[in-house]
């Protein structure tokens, strides 16, 4: 399978390019939208949340940005990616190529966007005077874990969506829920002594976002033990994802 994918690397590359450039084709700001969108989102939360919750978080805007940018990568991969097989029905019916290319290019183009938008994080870290620490070298580890996790989930959702079209809407709802169950707008500490604290322990996204924040915002080391558990979990999901995808892909051309 890997050999086959390697042979089709050019297709992956041009698909990622198409995904990034094609998305905003015809719009005035073009690719800049991938920056502007999360920034506007940050703006809304930064304006609204301090009023609703008595927020005492210092540097709240930077705090938010570090949570929202990785989340944006995750959410665009899953919620837009779920329909990636259906969206490419045209070529699926007529040409053979490894179908895994489609979900892989969704997650990869999200990764490229995320890496570029890390510039925003850097700028805000500089402006706010938080600065950087040597712990930044661990960021790639977190990125790899998030990549594996997203791809695993997407392999499952995108292939199931071909057979049960409702999957798309159910996934969107679940992802929305997950947004509030992940410490993006707030710090998980405020729930430490409440009965719902277990959510943050079980939610892999929570571990991932917290790890980004530990490194960028608090300049400490991430919790390696939790990260390792999430890493194993992600590998497991990826493995299950590949199995499900392999099983279902044989019917793609007939079902789309």
């Amino acid at each position: 399978m890997l050999k086959n994918l390697y042979q089709y690397r050019q297709l992956l590359k041009s698909n990622v390019q198409k995904e990034i450039r094609g998305k905003y084709k015809g719009s005035f700001l073009g690719v800049l939208w991938s920056f502007v969108n999360p920034l506007l989102q940050v703006l809304v939360y930064a304006l609204v949340f301090p009023f609703i919750m008595k927020n005492t978080q210092e540097n709240y805007v930077v705090f938010l940005i570090i949570g929202i940018l990785p989340w944006t990568w995750f959410v665009t991969s899953i919620s837009q990616g779920t329909s990636c097989i259906l969206a490419n029905a045209g070529i699926i019916k007529k040409v053979y190529f490894p179908r895994e290319i489609l979900p892989i290019s969704v997650v990869t183009s999200g990764l490229v966007n995320f890496l570029i938008s890390c510039i925003i994080i850097v700028i805000f870290l500089l402006l706010s005077g938080i600065g950087f620490s040597i712990n930044l070298i661990f960021i790639p580890i977190i990125i790899i874990i998030q990549y594996i996790l997203s791809l695993g989930i997407l392999l499952i959702t995108s292939s199931i969506n071909v057979y049960i079209r409702d999957a798309e809407y159910i996934i969107n709802f679940l992802v929305n829920m997950l947004f509030y169950a992940t410490p993006i707008l707030y710090s998980p500490e405020i729930f430490v002594n409440t009965p719902i604290n277990f959510i943050f322990k079980l939610n892999p996204l929570s571990v991932i976002i917290t790890a980004y924040r530990d490194i960028f915002f608090y300049k400490t080391l991430p919790d390696f033990l939790s990260l390792f558990v999430v890493f194993i979990l992600s590998l497991l999901i990826l493995f299950i994802g590949i199995l499900i995808f392999r099983k279902l892909e044989k019917g793609f051309a007939e079902e789309v």
């Binding site: 089709y8 050019q10 297709l11 198409k18 040409v95 053979y96 190529f97 049960i164 079209r165 044989k250």
Partner: protein, 245 residues
Amino acid sequence: MKSSNIAIKVENMTKSFKLFYDKPNTLKERLVFWNRKKADTRTVLDNINIEIKKGDTVALIGTNGSGKSTLLKLMTKIIYPTFGKITVNGKLTSLLELGAGFHPDFTGRENIYFNSSIFGLTAAEIDKRVDKIIEFSELEEFIDSPVRTYSSGMYMRLAFSIAINVDADILLIDEILAVGDQHFQEKCYKKLQQLKDNKKTIVIVSHSLDSVKKLCDRAIWLYDGKIKMDGNTSEVIEEYLKKCG
């Protein structure tokens, strides 16, 4: 040694499609109509056995709906057999439909890159071929315009030029050559003849029996999902015409 001479091997292969009268696509429909009578199945290809040797040029003939295109799709691995198996040795390229995977807003040149990458070529390999492809398609003037502005003949010329320049060992072609004008059709058959001389394997679905007779050494006549006759092209075509004519 023996198996390495075989390009495509189809063993006891059966393909059936489910016929849904109103296919449940959503969860609601699945739940509400869970007890609805199971869809009928229709066997499109029934227990097919074919061995195609390397270097063979084979024509698939038969009336509409006899399963020719389905067989090609099965060989390309776009769809999979219900029973039995198909083994393919070597790099395979198929040309099942005009410009499958062309992006209408991209220029001809961009589509050459995109389409060739669908066939599994790398950027360097495409760079090497791009001039040859453009030259063969005779679209020099239009190559940097978006393909949505192309006529269907131009579309076909570009698609065909890309597919035959992939240098696959096995080439599958569905009835598409009819679109080009006389001049381009002749050029295509000449190119196919050249590929044949280079010991490439070609499987072609066609209704233009005369061209098939010239190009192919072997013809397989499919009738109602079964192989009616398999053998020398002119003999098979003669029988076929007797039956249908």
